[in-house]
């Protein structure tokens, strides 16, 4: 199933980046295809979802076969990657056999759009028949009574949930080291982090342990790990996907997102999970297009498929503190987009640097409230105690991890009488500024681009004792959450590191509900990005 197992890379980090011209961005990278045209060879592998569907419908393969293939790869790679907190292999096999029976008796009608597609689900999304811990020991053994809406819709479309993926506890972290259970490694280099907080979902797709996966993105938790693991990650518009069943971290920022090894797979998944949900009054009733059918396949592309597209490259994301290799990759990607016909210019978002502190105040404030329910009274771990305060204190101090406690304390402080105006209220004002500056920029440009993270995947433990360094890594992504915008991350290049280089992702940001456009551009970008393959070396051994 996976594409040819070879990893190409370009050591762009060895090249000195040329100074960026102030306005118009013209730097070209020599090894990129000179003129994307109908004559181009197919890009990186076809859509896994489509080929699964075709082989099921043609009878070429059974769902049981496909499931067995993924499960065998999962069993082989899991001891190294540790993407999953819970693997539901028996249930997956059973569901695959059930699907095969339905196909045999009912034919095509029995096959939903995601039939036989193995999905990994971030463990902060509730699943009725599997444990759901949010990566926290305080929910060790907790099994919800219901499926999160996104999970339910996936199942209804025929998807098979293969297990629950690892994460930083309740989504708070950027490395997945903050899990209460285990550390997940990066399939590109097992000494490195997969990013976070949806590290398990990203690494599982990267290592082809499942076809696609669900994550959540509060400040970059889908996009940064997608970048670190070399997969496609989509953070939809706030409200595009129901949050019902997503364990809340910061309710006004949280979105359910998805990972795939291709843009097509990601688009297919979004069509299934998007849409209004009466269980989430912040979910939008904005129309859900068929994101996949709007994608144009390579052989139908014109020579300049992105003609008339205006792209702004966010100036502030290519400055100090950003790895030169990352900058080079993004510039190369920008030049690639330009060659596809778009106009790429630099754009400044003056409020950009304000976003990070505002984000940490707002997210922590909401978290301090959202996590109050983990009190050991009704479910989850309870520590026996002699009085109520002790019961609360012991249950929470035993069950919650360090990072979570720190954010609860920060948030409690920010909301306290006498501090509210200086912190929470001020951060809300910054949020409004950030939103406005994005709105202005998106009036001039169809898409804004930036790196998804200031660096590629770093070493496990590297930032474990330096939370500020870890927080700083979220600079590329948090503004998008504050503004509630959709953003797509597609792998665009490599930097030096590991045995085969480390992937870098390009973040494309659009106006609210412009996922269709982001996916269309991402799809064209991905198909015409010829010299890269984003299959990790972990899979080359087989």
């Amino acid at each position: 199933m996976p594409p040819p197992l070879q990893a190409h890379r370009m050591l762009l980090s060895h090249r000195r980046a040329s100074p960026i011209p102030r306005r118009r961005f013209t730097a070209a990278v020599s090894s990129l295809p000179s003129a994307p045209a109908k004559t181009l060879a197919p890009g990186p592998g076809p859509s896994s979802i489509l080929s699964i569907r075709e082989s099921l419908l043609s009878g070429e393969r059974t769902a049981a076969d496909i499931t067995a293939e993924y499960l065998s790869r999962l069993r082989r790679t899991e001891p190294i990657v540790r993407s999953f907190i819970h693997v539901a292999d028996a249930a997956a096999e059973r569901e695959a056999q059930e699907l095969d029976r339905r196909i045999a008796s009912g034919g095509q009608d029995a096959v939903g759009p995601l039939a036989g597609v193995l999905v990994g689900v971030k463990d902060n999304l509730c699943t009725a028949n599997m444990p759901s811990t949010g990566g926290s020991r305080i929910l060790d053994g907790y099994q919800p009574a219901y499926d999160a809406t996104a999970v339910r819709r996936l199942r209804e479309a025929g998807a098979i949930v293969v297990g629950k993926t690892n994460l930083d506890e309740f989504g708070m972290g950027s490395t997945t080291e903050g899990s209460g259970f285990q550390v997940t490694t990066n399939p590109w280099d097992d000494s490195r982090v997969p990013g976070g907080s949806s590290g398990g979902s990203a690494s599982a797709v990267s290592a082809r342990q499942c076809v696609v996966s669900l994550g959540s993105d509060t400040g970059g938790s889908v996009r940064q790990p997608a970048s670190f693991c070399g997969v496609v990650g989509l953070k939809p518009t706030y409200g595009r996907v129901s949050r019902y069943g997503l364990m809340a971290y910061a309710s006004s920022l949280d979105v359910v997102g998805c990972f795939g090894s291709s843009v097509v797979d990601t688009a297919t998944m979004l069509s299934v999970i998007a849409g209004h949900d009466k269980m989430d009054s912040t979910s939008s009733s904005h129309d859900v297009p068929d994101y996949r059918s709007d994608l144009v396949s390579l052989n139908l592309l014109e020579s300049k498929p992105l003609n008339n597209l205006r792209i702004g490259i966010i100036q502030e994301t290519l400055g100090d503190g950003v790895d030169t290799g990352v900058i080079s990759s993004i510039k190369a990607a920008a030049s690639h987009l330009e060659q596809l016909g778009s106009v790429v210019e630099e754009v400044s978002l003056p409020s950009f640097s304000l976003g990070l502190p505002a984000y940490y105040i707002l997210a922590s404030s909401e978290a301090s409230s959202n996590l109050s329910r983990y009190d050991g009274i009704r479910y989850g771990r309870q520590v026996s105690a002699d009085d109520l305060n002790e019961l609360y204190g012991d249950s929470r101090s035993n069950g919650l991890g360090h990072e979570v406690k720190m954010r609860i304390l920060m948030g409690t402080y920010a909301l306290s009488a006498g501090y509210y105006d200086a912190y929470y209220k001020r951060a809300q004002q910054v949020r409004t500024l950030v939103k406005k500056s994005f709105e202005e920029a998106l009036r001039r440009y169809d898409i804004l681009v930036s790196p998804a993270a200031p660096s590629a995947a770093y070493k496990i433990g590297e930032k474990a004792n330096d939370p500020l360094a870890m927080y700083a890594g979220d600079i590329m992504t948090v503004n998008v959450n504050l503004a509630g915008l959709p953003a797509l991350v597609v792998p665009c290049g490599f930097v030096d590191g590991g045995s085969a280089g480390l992937p870098v992702g390009l973040q494309m940001i659009g106006s609210p509900f412009s996922e269709g456009n982001l996916l269309r551009v991402g799809h064209i970008f991905e198909q015409t990005l010829q010299d890269f393959s984003f299959v990790p070396p972990l899979l080359a051994d087989s």
């Binding site: 009574a145 999160a148 019902y244 809340a248 009054s281 009274i377 109520l388 009488a417």
Partner: protein, 547 residues
Amino acid sequence: MALTLLRGIRTPTLFRTNVGLFCTARHPPLAHFTTRAGGMQTTEPKAAPKSIQQATKEAAEHKTRGFEAVIGIETHVQLSTITKAFCSCPYNYGSQPNSTVCPTCMGHPGTLPVLNAKVVDCAVKLGLALNCEISMTSKFDRKQYFYPDLPKGYQISQFDIPIAEKGYLDLDLPVEFGGGHRRFGITRVHMEEDAGKLLHSESGSYSQVDLNRAGVPLLEIVSEPDMRTGIEAAEYGAEIQRLVRYLGVGNGNMQEGSLRCDVNVSVRPIGQPEFGTKVEVKNMNSFSEISRAIDYEISRQILLHKESQADQIVQETRLWDESSQKTFTMRKKEGLADYRYFPEPDLPEVVLTSEYIDEIRNSMPELPEAKRRRYENMGLSMQDVIFLANDDNVAHFFDATLERGADAKLAANWIMGDITAYLKNEKLSIDEIKLTPLELSELIASIKNGTINGKIGKEILVELIAKGGTVKSVIEEKDLVQIADPAAIEAIVDQVLADNPKQLEQYRAGKTKLQGFFAGQVMKASKGKASPVLLNKILAEKLKGNQ
């Protein structure tokens, strides 16, 4: 579903210090409940003997001389919507613990609140009834604290932008308490959700949480500190209850905790502009208790002032103990509680249109204050006015009777007299009896036009209340038409006089009181049907004429 246990909590002190805070309405250690119409409520047409009241009042006035009390009330009104405020669970008072719960109202991970639109309807109705300004855009906020009956660790409430504010409430004090019209300011009305409740084991060794009530919609009404006496406060509460029932937004039942009043009481020397230290008093289960608790608290505070111990009046919550008729310290307030309010991110703003508000306004029934003014204009006494407007079912019955042409004063008398007596005896409400307003007006007309006399009327009334039917059919069936033929009455009178020669002799010897005896005998002989007017006239003539 099994009860959720608080395993391992052993110290009863925990709940001793906290029980009153969240469970007052549910854990009355003092079970002196009055009935709905009980106590000093205005439904009582017969007040306690004036002399005792007067004495109490005078004693109270003597004690409070030179001081003035300032009272504000926070009222929680539970709404009787079919489902809870933010999930689709029903709520029925008294059901099996944890039988009407779902992941949302149990605060399970990943669940989200979805606002029940009926809650907004109720809030706007009550807001309009309280003459408030309605906020076209309001929002929800989270009020945060930890307690086992609060599943999410926060209560969804409204903080800085309530749905309604700046209103007032008009009422008439009962005549027996001196009467008078009052207008009390309403600071705000906001929507929020109720908490669950704790059930404590008898040994005190563990507690259990019942979340049936968690998420039930409440309206919190905050008054201005406009009240000065226990009676005013109790009447304020009673008027809120009346509004709630008139509007049909809740059952207003205090014993079930559907209506809860927390009062703030302070006193100050008359003439002092600033308020004294306020004390919160809770755990009153009837309006009568509210009145007595406040009067007790006022006396307690004034006494401390008079003994130069005003510094002992501290910000605290005190519980009313019905058995000892006193308030006791429950918990001293150590500074202001910090609830860390912030806007509820899971719920969009509540945005209303003026069309929506107009629609609600137009659908509202006539409210108690308007009714009282209308009845007053009919010339009814204030006692009648207050009685009739107290219960919307009674008012409705009264109005319907008038619509059928009955005289207001007569209809009021029948309703407040015989009908109320019957209802009280049988423990029924006026909408549960078979008598219709039409038949009451027929009955009144039949007496007025002489078809039946008043005594027969009372008999027919009982028949109609219990069995239904029409005045006409009962009269015919029982042959109750009044005997208005003078000759027929004369014949009966003659017969009675002939049958009672001894009494006649005594009468003629000067014992004129016996006229009553003869009248009774004649009425009895006529089976109660004789026209009383004719009977008395003919009898008097006969007694005189034969002399």
